[in-house]
């Protein structure tokens, strides 16, 4: 025992490898703890506090595309075979050197954008944009485009698109365009021209004429602009316009058709938009000429947009020359490399004016199989509205970013022998009479992200507020519309903002928006006749009685309406293991049948005067027969025994009823109007689903018919005549209840 208490200090035996021997780094056979620690009684230096928490696990790495950097070169290291790519680094764009990427969790859904999550008592109550969310979408962070400029997604809750809080993106009276639609990249240009008064008034006035040509953009864009105005700040979905565009063969050939899919194909929308711009203006010019072909009406579009260009070709070795006058609707603006270099050498930073001036008189040397030519293109006349497509090289873009005030809000143009002289301001009052003033209406800009997929188009627009007599700038980004300061709108120094298409207009002549231009000489003939897609009344089941001229609708005329739809494309959704179902995209429905009934008291009360089936050219995914009553074959002109018309026919009828001031009665009309693609002001809508709205529940037509009218409806397949009729009766009942003051009581029982 005494031996045990006198223990001598611990010793360790010698180990197979001595501590002092040389150890090669790559000798994996030596464990690192073959070298021990000295005795310690304090925290080791290697100890890390467990309070230090690292949050980078799960951070999604940045994708690096080596081709996206400027001045790429390969460097061979120390004469070896190792070759490394070196490029220029853009700190503004990519942030600091070795900047840690922030962790962002993907699982935090954006619930805030749904009305159902906002505790709003009625879906019809308008929410005012809070300052908080305003800040969130319009916060210009250093290095990154603000959220308001980025591509916005519509989110669908289980209640569908109606639950999405569009209003939080737009508190103005200008309507935004929804993004989940085919060719949605064109939204930027559609909005741009919407604010050109000459163009707007031309299109809307033109709606007075009956034009039933298929795939006619002149008409469709007119409808669209009329609807945008009638929407009065609510979002609108340009489905009819895009549908027409998609069916134009030339548009497909030009690569302008971009189906609404969830992933982008990577090609540049900016490039596509410039092609679309030229195509659209030419097509409208063509559509107008086609429409006016048989009438003696003059064509007016070319007077608004037509740029007269004198083209002269001179053979280099002879005096042969060809002279020709061309009409273009847009100006392709670019600087040649030589010209650009010369400017830089002279220390001149080109502005938009330089680009425009150079593009209005151009001399090119052309060599082809016919020999060498010198070709000159001189603009002889610029139109009241000048549409400009910018074609910029990387060097140009760089110079734009470093040039203050590259984009000019106005310029003055004077004709000269060699095209036009453009100046920023008039110094010499004597010559001012030769100059015409042009002002920037707005422009489309490309907003880049760190990766190509994020590229996106937005529009900056200047509007004139007639009541306050002020000019204001707005940002239009699909369904987002925000006021923006002029300096911010015109600022092109951000790495993520590149101009694409601009519109200037001549302000010497005053032109106003004519919102009811269709009023004059309106042609409403279509309301009083049949216009079947194929055949005549014979052999068709006709359940309606055409309107007579004596019954011509007036403001306040009550009509009952119901529409049926078929599904072209089923809804897209995702399921999770917690049982939740998230809607990515609602089903794509198209109009299949519309019934409109006389609603005013009289002998023909409740008698239908429109009961049109609509030709559907696409393959139909689901006829929804039990809801719509539509049977396969009903919508095909070859097989149908129904009164079948083309969509533009029925649309014109409805548009006329709307513009003649009819009041529409129906049940749950929001979705009907949305799918018909019509925007009806509230004052012209009597929606029984809204009247009988109780708590969060919308009462069905069937339930209302049973409880109010003691009537059983919808026992078999739905029938739009019956449903419109039922809604009409319910509305009449509602009026009675309302007038004798027992409505609230009835609703609560």
């Amino acid at each position: 025992l005494s031996q045990m208490s006198e223990r001598t200090p611990l010793e360790y035996p010698s180990l197979p490898r001595s501590n002092d021997s040389y150890v090669d780094v790559d000798d994996h056979e030596v464990p690192l703890n073959s070298i021990g620690l000295p005795y310690y009684k304090e925290n080791l230096l290697s100890a890390w506090s467990s309070q230090a928490i690292f949050r980078s696990a799960g951070t999604i790495p940045k994708n690096i595309d080596p081709t996206k950097f400027d001045d790429l070169k390969n460097i061979r290291i120390d004469n070896s075979n190792t070759v490394i790519t070196e490029g220029q680094y853009d700190k503004e764009k990519y942030g600091r050197r070795n900047q840690a990427k922030k962790y962002v969790s993907l699982s935090n859904g954006d619930l805030g954008r749904f009305l159902s999550a906002k505790n709003v008592s009625s879906p019809l109550k308008k929410k005012v944009l809070s300052d908080d969310s305003k800040e969130q979408i319009f916060d210009i962070k250093k290095g990154n485009p603000p959220n308001a400029f980025k591509k916005l997604e519509i989110l669908y809750s289980k209640f569908g698109v109606e639950d999405f809080d569009f209003d939080s993106y737009n508190s103005t009276y200008f309507s935004g365009l929804e993004s989940h639609v085919d060719n949605s990249y064109t939204n930027a240009l559609i909005q741009l021209y919407r604010f050109v008064p000459e163009f707007f008034s031309f299109l809307v006035s033109n709606l007075a004429f009956e034009n039933l040509h298929s795939n006619d953009l002149l008409r469709e864009l007119g409808y669209l602009y009329d609807m945008l105005v009638k929407s009065n700040g609510r979002h609108f979905r340009p489905t009819n316009f895009q549908h027409n565009l998609s069916y134009i063969p030339e548009a497909s050939q030009l690569g302008l058709i971009k189906k609404e899919i969830l992933a982008s194909d990577g090609s540049s929308d900016a490039q596509r938009l410039k092609v679309f711009n030229r195509f659209l203006l030419n097509k409208i010019s063509y559509d107008e000429r086609k429409q006016n072909y048989h009438s003696q009406r003059p064509n007016s579009f070319d007077k608004i947009f037509g740029i007269e260009i004198e083209v002269q070709k001179r053979h280099s070795f002879s005096s042969n020359s060809l002279r020709d006058l061309e009409i273009h609707h847009s100006l392709d603006a670019f600087l040649t490399d030589n010209h650009f270099k010369q400017l830089l050498q002279r220390n001149i930073n080109p502005t938009i004016i330089t680009f425009l001036e150079a593009s209005m008189s151009r001399i090119e040397q052309i060599k082809n199989e016919h020999g060498a030519f010198e070709q000159s293109k001189i603009v002889r006349k610029i139109p009241p509205v000048l549409s400009v497509d910018l074609h910029l090289s990387q060097a140009h873009i760089k110079s734009i970013r470093t040039t203050k005030d590259w984009l000019k809000a106005k310029f003055y143009a004077a004709r000269s022998n060699n095209g036009y002289v453009l100046v920023e301001s008039l110094r010499n009052q004597d010559t001012s009479e030769f100059y015409q003033q042009y002002e920037l209406v707005g422009f489309v800009a490309e907003i880049s992200g760190e990766i190509d997929k994020d590229k996106h188009l937005v529009t900056f627009l200047q509007t004139y507020d007639e009541t306050n007599r002020t000019k204001n700038w707005f940002l239009f980004n699909d369904f987002l519309v925000l006021p923006i300061a002029e300096e911010e709108a015109l600022n092109l120094q951000y790495w993520w903002k590149t101009p694409v298409t601009l519109v200037y207009r001549n302000t010497s002549t005053d032109s106003k928006f004519c919102y009811d231009g269709w009023k004059y000489n309106i042609n409403d003939e279509i309301l009083y006749r049949d216009h079947f897609a194929a055949g005549t009344r014979e052999g068709k089941r006709i359940e309606y009685e055409l309107l007579t001229k004596e019954e011509a609708p007036n403001p306040g005329t009550l009509v009952a309406i119901d529409a049926e739809f078929v599904i072209i494309e089923e809804e897209q959704f995702e399921l999770k293991s917690n049982g939740s179902r998230s809607l990515l995209k609602p089903s794509y429905q198209t109009l299949a049948r519309v019934s409109v009934l006389r609603g005013d008291e009289g002998p023909k009360f409740g008698v239908p005067f429109i009961d049109d089936y609509v030709v559907v050219h696409e393959p139909i995914h689901d006829y929804l027969t039990s809801f719509s009553g539509i049977e396969p074959g009903d919508l095909d002109p070859q097989t149908s025994n129904k009164p079948l018309v083309e969509r533009e026919v029925v649309y014109r009828k409805l548009w006329l009823l709307l513009n003649l001031g009819c009041v529409f009665v129906g049940h749950g009309l929001t979705n009907d109007f949305r799918t018909i693609n019509i925007s009806v002001p509230k004052s012209q809508v009597r929606d029984t689903a809204v009247f009988f709205y109780k708590g969060q529940r919308i009462l069905s037509l069937r339930y209302l018919a049973y409880s109010l009218l003691n009537k059983r409806v919808q026992t078999g397949n739905h029938d739009s005549i019956e449903d419109a009729h039922t809604a009409l009766l319910i509305y009449k009942e509602y009026e009675i209840l309302k007038s004798n003051g027992s409505f609230e009581e009835t609703l609560n029982t």
Binding site: V23, P38, S46, A57, G579
Partner: protein, 443 residues
Amino acid sequence: PQSHTPFNYPLNYHLYAPTPPPHMQPHLSGNEQNSESLFIPNKLRETLTKKNEATLKTFATNQPDIVGIYYDLIPLELDGSLDRYSSTYDHDSSIYKAFSNANGKPYALRRIENVNFPKDKAVTSINQWTKLKHANIAQVIDAFTTRALHDHSLIIVYDFYPDSKTLEEYHNPRVGKAEHITEELLWSYLVQIASGISAAHEHGLPVRSVSTKKVIVTSQNRVRLSDCGVLDILHYTEDSSDTQLSMEKDLIDLGRLILDLASPRFAPAPKSSPDLIRLQSSSLKEDLQTALKYLLTNQPNKSIFEFQRIISNKIVKEFEKIQTSADYYEAQLTRELENGRLVRLMTKINFVLERANIDYSSWESAGAKYPIKLLHDYIFHQVDENGKAVLDLSHVLRSLNKLDVGIDEKILLVSNDELTCLILSYKELKDLIDKSYRELINS
């Protein structure tokens, strides 16, 4: 001064020791040691390194960046087949490795293309599987459907087992050497798979995917049922009458799986071939034949639990083997205990030193970091008398360990220009680094 000689600070702690049992080296006579027995066996190191590589591997693909909460998808060809159509699922199907945004860990994603569900609830049926944790079942994590892959795909998420192969690919690879099959190995598989099946059946879940194409080898001789839950979703029904039938089928499938593996050319027999005839014509030993016969024969009250009672002596054997290998891993782990400490220490030094915009070559510009820089050079930039670099890991570790503890031993640090020198103790240097590190945190 001589009291400060290094001998007063023996490096005695946290040393590695000869590994505790089990000793798994090849037979070597007496003091003849090879590196395999002294240090961690190379083959194990290689295997584990390979797994690490398989986990980290990425390459540019045209996959979408993100599916659900998963990113960096890369397709795996677990079954070595390029044919996307899976007869098991009657859908096109593929499998991906991806990382989770929630925790940064890798997972395996089974994708079934173009699905169409009768009921939304089908997907929630996965929750029964996610709750089941078992060493012989590839852990089921989640299921969801997605449109991100340009169709309506069903994705079932599993733990990722790096470098794993299906039994078929392992024992009958299209390229490379097949792993040899012994009767002992068959028993091992039988016991392990039965163990997985019994856990599922205990929870009322038929496995439905017992086949050489669906059982994966995740480590040496370790197998797991994989792709569980897929058919539960695809063939979702609220009618539970087929559960019992499917469980009985699991047993027959297990018998067939072993028969397939036992057949000389690893040829799955045509479905028409009677299993029992195949069994009798095989050259398997009697005990295995008896076990398989139970699995392949229809009889009342047949169950996986009854089967396990029958083969209990084999289970005991496998139990012993797996204990041995757990002990072996533990023993190997004792050799590698100090690695983490050194990583933490070196990271701290590297955090502090050589940050941009500081000139580390003088007191004036670097302040407290000047001696740290000189220490760094002392540790890593040793030279011999000719100025040639001395690259000695043991010097590095010795110095680092002394620094880690912060002993009082003093060292001589010479300036870059070799004109001045500092004499500091490791303790003072430790404090300087600690201080600089704190400053960095609080800056």
